[in-house]
């Protein structure tokens, strides 16, 4: 059963549409068929054209339809009543199995590897030695599901995924204002994910934000683009739909069906929003905030490339489905309409874009590469699996934790690193979590903090809501755009220099420093085999192999002092490929 119209099911988001027109808009999108009678005939016509041929197809084919673009750049819609129920874990595993073309089911990751992976992917930090031991020693048959549940309910879960989306948004802004409010949007997103607000509500809030950045941190998405309609439209399509229309800003899309007109019609939804930098505000200590406000007069115009001096043609708002709305709408109405179009269950791309990113982040490989391109020409891996999981996400009312739960409990997520992909592919496969992922700057920082202690001690300047200087140091060196394919993210020399030589890290490793974690460990574990085991457990979340044991023992024996030996061993372990990646 599909969700009820937004107007009734989400009183939180839509107080009451400000006009009858607004109401019509929302209902058109969310539950058009039921509301057909209320709609002016001409407004419904394009929708009917887009949906009717599809309604005749069996539900599965309709979803599997490989061509997202039907007629010269028209996003095809689906009937939400065909979504069915969310998948169960068993159903997902069956789909994964049927997607595999090889008889080899792939090895399951050893439990210690799995625990490290799970901690990093949910709460963004490696497990403590006790977490690994507890898991290995537990006899409970559903210990995996229990651990997943526990981690999804930790506040660090929301923070971790908030950082992912913070970076996905921030790394593609050309504006220098992207630093302002960066931590506020992270905190806001963390709250949303921890409360498990549905993804459509989160996105709607970001697209519809108004006012000062202090009271509406979700306005960051628009503010970071300085409210430029073309940038907001292009990025909203890329991030939330996986559809890249930004190329069409200047010319018709060369490899896709989008035209320049269509691009600017989408931009027109954001064409009456403006941002300005407000100084001397008293709502924060910085004294600076960005304000999103409406431009009451004037139309959105598409620049005339042949005559840059002329004002250009007026473009009214029309979504990629070909559905226009009135150009008389106010800024609030336009953005309300846009968010309805973007997040509607009729629009399959909204679910797909999120599912693809979540899957890619968890298993290392998405259904498409790059993860933000679901276009006509994109090579989709395992389309049936992708469609079913996306449909499930929409059917669950965009329940983010439910999607996480589903993927984390699946056989694909449990697969061992380096085991052959069950689909017979030689390289990367979304069917196994076999692809190593570079730790993000925050994962690395939080993991080092757990191992060494006290990294967060360098506090930010008084009263400013922002991360510590040391975390920022890591972000500067290790940050990357999460939309970049994992294989394109290279290590850098400043990263290596930081890990090898940073005075703060050096200090935390130093056993002579009062309160040194390593010194305490050395006191607790006077025997070398135990001490080596403890370090491996602490840094890599596993016990050392006999070869590693031998190397370590040999090194300790040859060293001038025990303290120096273990400082060196810890230093070396922190610089290994294994530590710096999530396998």
């Amino acid at each position: 059963m599909s969700r009820l119209p937004v107007v009734t099911s989400r009183p939180m988001r839509v107080a009451l549409p400000s006009s009858l027109l607004g109401l019509l808009l929302l209902t058109t999108l969310t539950n058009a068929d039921e509301r057909q009678a209320m709609m002016p005939r001409e407004q419904f016509a394009p929708l009917r054209r887009a949906t009717q041929p599809q309604a005749k197809l069996p539900p599965k084919l309709e979803w599997v339809s490989a061509k997202p673009v039907e007629v010269g750049g028209q996003l095809s819609l689906i009937d939400p009543r065909t979504l069915g129920k969310p998948l169960t874990i068993a159903e997902l595993d069956a789909l994964i199995k049927s997607s595999a073309t090889s008889a080899d089911p792939g090895r399951e990751a050893p439990e210690d590897h799995f625990v490290r992976r799970l901690f990093l992917d949910t709460i963004g930090q490696i497990p403590a030695p006790a977490d690994v031991r507890d898991y290995l020693e537990s006899d409970s048959p559903d210990k995996k599901a229990q651990l997943i549940e526990r981690l999804l309910s930790e506040p660090r879960y929301g923070r971790h995924w908030a950082r992912y989306w913070r970076d996905a948004i921030a790394y593609r802004t050309a504006s220098d204002q992207r630093r302002l409010g960066l931590f506020d949007i992270e905190t806001w997103l963390a709250e949303q994910f921890n409360q498990n607000r549905p993804w459509d509500e989160i996105v709607s809030d970001m697209l519809r934000a108004e006012g000062l950045s202090d009271s509406t941190p979700e306005g960051y998405f628009i503010a970071a683009h300085e409210g430029r309609p073309a940038d907001v439209a292009g990025e909203a399509s890329r991030l939330f739909l996986g559809i890249q229309i930004a190329c069409a800003q200047c010319h018709d899309h060369p490899s896709d069906a989008w035209t320049r007109n269509q691009f600017h019609q989408v931009a027109s939804f954001f064409g009456k929003a403006r941002t300005r930098l407000r100084r001397n505000v008293d709502t924060n200590r910085r004294g600076v905030a960005i304000e999103i406000f409406s431009r009451p007069l004037g139309d959105y115009r598409m620049p005339d490339l042949d005559d840059p001096g002329s004002p250009g043609d007026v473009m009214g708002p029309t979504f990629l489905t070909g559905q226009p709305v009135s150009n008389d709408l106010s800024d609030a109405q336009r953005r309300q309409a846009a968010s309805a179009f973007f997040t509607s269950k009729r629009n399959p791309y909204f679910a797909k874009a999120f599912v693809n990113r979540a899957w890619a982040k968890l298993t290392g490989v998405g259904f498409t590469t790059p993860v933000d391109d679901l276009s006509l020409l994109a090579d989709v891996r395992h389309p049936e699996l992708f469609e079913a999981l996306s449909r499930s996400f929409a059917a669950s009312d965009y329940d983010v934790k439910e999607l996480m739960r589903l993927i984390l409990n699946s056989s694909a997520y449990a697969a061992a690193a380096g085991s052959p992909a069950p689909d017979g592919s030689v390289g990367e496969s979304p069917l196994t979590a076999a692809t190593a992922k570079r730790l993000t700057s925050d994962q690395l920082f939080d993991s080092l903090d757990l191992i060494l202690g006290g990294l967060e001690e360098t506090r930010p300047r008084r009263g400013l809501n922002r991360p510590s200087e040391s975390r920022r140091t890591f972000r500067e060196a290790f940050g990357f755009d999460p939309s970049t394919p994992a294989s394109d993210i290279d290590g850098t020399i400043p990263q290596a220099l930081l890990l090898m030589n940073n005075p703060m890290l050096h200090q935390r490793i130093d056993t002579k420093r009062p309160g040194s974690v390593l010194a305490k460990l050395l006191e607790h574990y006077p025997s070398d085999p135990e001490m080596i085991e403890m370090l491996y457990l602490r840094v890599l979340g596993r016990l050392p192999s006999s070869k590693e044991n031998a190397i370590a023992k040999d090194y300790v024996a040859k060293s001038a002092s025990r303290g120096e030996a273990y400082e060196d061993l810890l230093w070396a372990m922190l610089n290994t490929t294994e530590f710096l990646n999530n396998h």
Partner: protein, 428 residues
């Protein structure tokens, strides 16, 4: 083994992008024990004779804030203002009175007085004058420094190829991160984290232990990843222990020369730029901020020129004296000019319609003036030069094809410079 070396050197020669670099690593990966037996440096050494060494470098003196063209190199006796003009070593060329030392070097400097642009916003114009592209859209264009480094930097250089001193540098954009600038705040201080902290011997022992652990990881799987990591650590530790690291220690220079460059960050930054280029760095940008003179224009410009004039002039003389000027392109520029009319607060406001740029070295014949502005400096009346024209000119001087394409993340090829015609009188 010979076979391995040959394959490696082939990969190295066309090593100009991440893709090639990956191939390179894969090749080594196939060579199994290759790295541990030979070592990265040995391999490069084997390939060294065939490496393409262009040997050209760039030093950009970036005047952040938009320097007034009238009070720099395009003085107008008839325009509003109080600065006088002075003669230079080249008869017929006059510049503003604040630049007596630059005036003496004019035989090696060429002025473009006809720069013209539309961006009057600091951020947008700075972006444009650093990338050659107008900001907007979601493509993060690579900075010119990254583009040039990608084209010209030798693969075996053990220090960063692109260094930015004293300013917020523009980065590699969509190019691989290895083309990001190495940023330095204080030229008189060693870079962050470059000092090994522990004694070199112990550092080497640690590296040895790391290497052993890397070789025995039980997680197995991605060999390419491990070798990638080893390469990186090899390069970073080489940098950290490089005998060339002393290049960052400008205290080595004679006191008189340090004094001549000027005892301030910008002056010392220019000195460090020369040392870096001398050592093999491809692109250095040194920033002097404060040119946004909406108030007290003349006082501020005079103070800024006091720092910039000796540094710029000494840099040219120093490069020339060392025989380096022929292969080093020096560019003095900012994001726009300033209004010919004074505002009510004794300042000048942003003015992109006409501004100037000074060039020297890399075969550019000095003592020339390109273009002309009207008597009130408000209009370019001869030989207008756009930003892309300027960038195309710089490329040509460096032996880079300005229309060579790089692939953006959207899979759209983007030229190093989109359009633009090199200034004809600067072609040799």
């Amino acid at each position: 083994m010979t076979d391995l070396i040959r394959r490696v050197s082939n990969a190295t020669i066309d090593r100009h992008g991440a893709i090639q670099r990956r191939d390179f690593l894969r090749t080594i990966g196939v060579g199994a024990a290759g790295l541990s037996m030979l070592g990265w440096q040995d391999l490069l050494l084997a390939a060294a004779p065939t490496l393409r060494q262009q040997g050209k470098s760039v030093i950009v003196l970036w005047m952040q804030g938009g320097p007034s063209h009238l009070e720099t190199f395009d003085p107008k006796p008839k325009a509003e203002g109080e600065a006088k003009s002075i003669g230079t070593a080249v008869p017929g060329i006059e510049i503003a009175e604040y630049w007596p030392q630059v005036a003496k070097q004019m035989k090696d400097i060429t002025l473009i007085r006809s720069m013209s642009n539309k961006e009057g916003n600091h951020q947008r114009a700075t972006y444009q004058l650093h990338t050659g592209y107008i900001p907007g859209g979601t493509v993060r264009h690579p900075s010119f420094g990254s583009l040039v480094t990608k084209e010209l930097a030798p693969a075996d250089f053990d220090l960063p190829g692109y260094v930015s001193i004293g300013g917020p540098a523009r980065g590699a954009g969509f190019l691989p991160v290895e083309y990001n600038p190495f940023q330095l705040g204080n030229p008189a201080k060693m870079p962050d984290n470059v000092d090994t902290i522990v004694p070199k011997q112990r550092f080497q022992r640690r590296l040895g232990l790391l290497n052993q652990l890397e070789g025995s990881s039980t997680k197995g799987g991605d060999d390419a990843m491990v070798s990638d990591h080893r390469t990186l650590y090899s390069k970073a530790s080489t940098f950290s222990t490089s005998p060339k690291l002393g290049v960052f220690d400008i205290k080595d220079e004679p006191a008189a020369l340090r004094q001549a460059y000027g005892d301030n960050r910008f002056g010392q930054g220019c000195l460090l730029a020369r040392r870096l280029v001398e050592t093999g760095t491809t692109y250095v940008e040194v920033t002097l901020g404060g040119w946004d003179t909406h108030f007290n224009h003349f006082e501020q410009v005079s103070n800024l020129a006091e720092q910039c004039d000796p540094a710029f002039a000494t840099l040219i003389a120093d490069l020339k004296q060392r025989g380096m000027l022929d292969d080093t392109l020096v560019v003095w520029m900012g994001e726009f000019g300033r209004t010919p009319k004074l505002n009510g607060r004794g300042g000048r406001d942003h003015f992109p319609r006409a501004f100037n740029v000074a060039l020297a070295g890399c075969g550019i014949e000095g003592g020339q003036v390109i273009g002309k502005t009207s008597d009130d400096a408000s209009e370019v009346i001869e030989e207008p030069v756009s930003v892309v024209d300027l960038f195309a000119t710089l490329c040509t001087r460096l032996g880079i094809d300005p229309h060579k394409e790089n692939m953006s993340p959207l899979g759209r090829p983007m030229k190093i410079v989109d359009g633009g015609t090199p200034i004809e009188s600067l072609l040799s």
